[in-house]
Symmetry: D2
Subunit: 336 residues, 4 copies
Amino acid sequence: MTQNPVRLGLIGTGRIGQVHAANIASDPETTLSWIADPFVSGAESVASRHGGRVTDDPEELLSSGEIDAVLVASPTPTHVDLIARSVELGLPVLCEKPIDLDIDRVDALRPRIAAAGVPVALGFNRRFDPAFASVRERVAAGEIGPLEQLTIVSRDPAAPPAAYVAVSGGIFRDMTIHDFDMARFFLPDIVEVHATGSTTFDPGAREHGDFDTAVTTLRAASGAVVTIVNSRHSAVGYDQRLEAFGARGSLQVANAPTSLVSLSTAEAVEAKPPYQDFFLERYAHAYAAELRAFVSLVHGRASSSPSFDDGRAALVLADAATRSAREGVAVAIDLS
Amino acid sequence: MTQNPVRLGLIGTGRIGQVHAANIASDPETTLSWIADPFVSGAESVASRHGGRVTDDPEELLSSGEIDAVLVASPTPTHVDLIARSVELGLPVLCEKPIDLDIDRVDALRPRIAAAGVPVALGFNRRFDPAFASVRERVAAGEIGPLEQLTIVSRDPAAPPAAYVAVSGGIFRDMTIHDFDMARFFLPDIVEVHATGSTTFDPGAREHGDFDTAVTTLRAASGAVVTIVNSRHSAVGYDQRLEAFGARGSLQVANAPTSLVSLSTAEAVEAKPPYQDFFLERYAHAYAAELRAFVSLVHGRASSSPSFDDGRAALVLADAATRSAREGVAVAIDLS
Amino acid sequence: MTQNPVRLGLIGTGRIGQVHAANIASDPETTLSWIADPFVSGAESVASRHGGRVTDDPEELLSSGEIDAVLVASPTPTHVDLIARSVELGLPVLCEKPIDLDIDRVDALRPRIAAAGVPVALGFNRRFDPAFASVRERVAAGEIGPLEQLTIVSRDPAAPPAAYVAVSGGIFRDMTIHDFDMARFFLPDIVEVHATGSTTFDPGAREHGDFDTAVTTLRAASGAVVTIVNSRHSAVGYDQRLEAFGARGSLQVANAPTSLVSLSTAEAVEAKPPYQDFFLERYAHAYAAELRAFVSLVHGRASSSPSFDDGRAALVLADAATRSAREGVAVAIDLS
Amino acid sequence: MTQNPVRLGLIGTGRIGQVHAANIASDPETTLSWIADPFVSGAESVASRHGGRVTDDPEELLSSGEIDAVLVASPTPTHVDLIARSVELGLPVLCEKPIDLDIDRVDALRPRIAAAGVPVALGFNRRFDPAFASVRERVAAGEIGPLEQLTIVSRDPAAPPAAYVAVSGGIFRDMTIHDFDMARFFLPDIVEVHATGSTTFDPGAREHGDFDTAVTTLRAASGAVVTIVNSRHSAVGYDQRLEAFGARGSLQVANAPTSLVSLSTAEAVEAKPPYQDFFLERYAHAYAAELRAFVSLVHGRASSSPSFDDGRAALVLADAATRSAREGVAVAIDLS
């Protein structure tokens, strides 16, 4: 490859921003050119490790003329404006999920992106996990026959603080949104959503009218049914499993072991240590692959990046699930 | 034990009737005294193997004065009358599920049973499976903390014939009813039902307005959520799994292996043979334990048998799920 | 099948004798006709459950004229005389392992059996275990290519009492003898034996000059190498595993689970209860299948029963292993 | 840590040399200063990726005055002289196994190292594998009680070329030597060696009087017994398992999975893709940890690096196993 490295501007230096920075630094196809964060000390800390110029103002980064594309890892409320400004400047964007908590703002942005003709990718990193990606490929290859059911178990290690819950948009927009995108990774055309929410343990969820426990079922146009089982906590570690069930068999993704060692005693046999406890660990490979796919997109090569419309679709499903869980109705969906 | 064996009358000699007959014959606490089946050759075949007098008329069996209790394994439409007549005669009954497909007939029977004061047990055999029973006991003992989610995967090996589907009452009353009882084995007080049904492969289901694929979620009064994933077929064999998820961990029931042998080659490693393919195999121990519990009930000893009201509750949930799947609404439940 | 049931005489009513009695009673092809035990109350107890006439004198059983074949489950020192007398009377014998602890007595018996032309089967029950039998069949069918290594892990739940160790003939003749037969089930033609013995925990073994820990390697004429890892105790329950390793892959036999349930908590995940703790549980199916094979042998039909010569071969290997472990030499074997 | 990075000289740029170079480059505590290889293009290729000056003459590297320590990854016959020269110059050495194929040369070197007082570490990388290291730590902590048996299955993916076999020193010195060191990682004081070798598939082994299949048993001073099962090929991928068996239970190391995905169909269930196929993949973490331990050693801090004497001990065991397999005798060992 003789192309120059893609010069990237990173906006936001929280947990995911830091992961992006490290991946950019170690990928020969990318350079970290500019870093923006209102908390400029965070940006400076990242720059000291991985290089790049620093600003507390994203606009300085965007209009620097020294970047080829933008990574948006700032808080959700900033996403729409940053995407809009980036595409206005002709800069491709990889934006963390969700685009926004308000579908109206998303829909207002949609025609501007279409008009600009600049690629916008959504940070649904799980599409790049080797296990999920391989199952999708094998399903597409017909290995288990027509897909009839997709069952996703997705539980976070621990519930977020109440203050976060208050502004999160609720469990479906904040957490299940990843699972909605995973569902659409296999079955893009979802036509109906049922959801059941409950509060079983988290006072923060109760206080803010949110759920800590949820089960969502999605019906695809093909008739296939997706089940998503969520909890905001999991004593055994991050619980991320999937089963694709088809007419001829099933493909299953197990939790990632943290060790090859098992213990057998008179009390219990074949006991293993708990699973990985954090999404950055579990999806480390996925974040790196997501960056490589975005680089392909920037270069105009084929890319498996989820699009702006994928980000919008996940939000539509999250809104529908929120309504279904609150009102006790199935919600019909039209993603076209 | 110095009590005489319980003299049992068996009505119906289909698959389950035959299992009961063999278990009665090999249990020292029971004797197979009378066998009734309109297809009298079936009754005669059972009698030749396990003893007992034979009739084509259940009434002859019930009024023989030679039985202490009745096992009803005849077709569903006969259950209500046979239970009614048995309790009238003071004979405890173990009746196969469902009591009936019509909740009105079940409700009409209810006060007659209460008035008679004769025990009626429902044949929800899975409560007696050693794995499910042990998980329930460990959950009750607090091993995983408060129960927050119960996830049941229940798939039959192959879809029934279209003629059977036509009279089955639909997937929820015919198949999921076992899972509804399993849900109530852990969480008796269910307050809400959502269901999604779909037809993905079975022309018989399509023809008769039934589903071959279904996902049901139940909310318990405690807030715990039950998910039931059903399919009418399963290429890998009978698929019967359960996960009880609590605040401190989870207990899982795996499918029953058919062999201790696994194969590893350059193509795949640790491959095992398919699971048991038939409910009579998978639940062989459960049927025997169910009989022992019924004998306890007949003797007036403590019994873990599911009651008539458990049978009614499962039907109420099945009716609600049928409505939910058809009308796209959550259905509130009052089982009191 | 129109043949009359085989009338069996059972000599010895210890643990294995009782298993045989129950299997005979429940097998329609066999009848328990006579039971002999010097401790006649043991014989009477068995007869009360499973039928049969009782004596304290094996000769009365053998010469009764009322039996078609003999099961010898009495102490090892009685085996040679009982086999000799049985074949003299034309009665096929199924004798528990080992034939004797003294190869000279075995060799003296050998021509008498050959001359009598009466079938003698050895009670190497593990050949009838469904898992081991299936692996052997699949190896023979070429599923893993030429067999290069066979690795057997065989550990008893707990060491026997010192008094038993004193007369046991040592770990190789008493315990490993089953594994020697399993080795020959796959690779009959063993040409060399190396053994290492050690005493790591059992004062009884130390006191009587025996080992509680042993590893034996056998070389087959084909070049394949067998490894047998033994311990007289195992905290996790009866440990009975096998790996057949071939040029194209391997087949493995896992320990038998006692439950389908696993527990996951913050301390450990996928923990299962300990394995079956007793050989009668682990090999229950094998004892029943062994009886059926012996019935075939008695009827002159094809039988997979291990022969007297198989019993002799296992003892030859046990003697060689004992010598190898004591003297630190490899011992060449000629089983022809 | 404010210490300057350790300036390393790397001798040999084959497979392991390249791994070392990449690890040095990505470890902030180390710098790759000099690279020597008679095939200077290999050294140049490494330098272009990871930096460092290049020479075809190791002496130039050693006497450059620009390195603090040496990594020897050149062919075995060069090891003794390079170690000798390094310690003469006061440079700590990490040398790949084996030190040499000739114990006399090793013993001649021993006093020179002792006299120099310069640390020499042996590249037994498996000690740094997280799984093996954790099992050893847990055994030492008493988690399974006194260690009674250690069982190692160690099979390479594919046999080396005949030309390599010819100069390898034989399977015990070339391949099992890693397992001998693993045995001593748990049980340093080995007192007896039995070995059985066989040739089952590899014409190269046969041609050069070597084995392709071997089983070795080691007796430790404590009475514990180690079993090592080796093959030069493995259809399922690199097979590296270990079981530590103690009085109170066992700890097992499974093969490293290459995916979280399993496939279930009507033919087989829970089938996973083959294991990692190459030692550089399987032990990637171990090589990095080995480097960090060596840096500690160079800094005079505590280090878990295996020593020169560990390297000698493994060769003593390999020599003993070679003799045992050829002559059919157990060989007593004195490692003191």
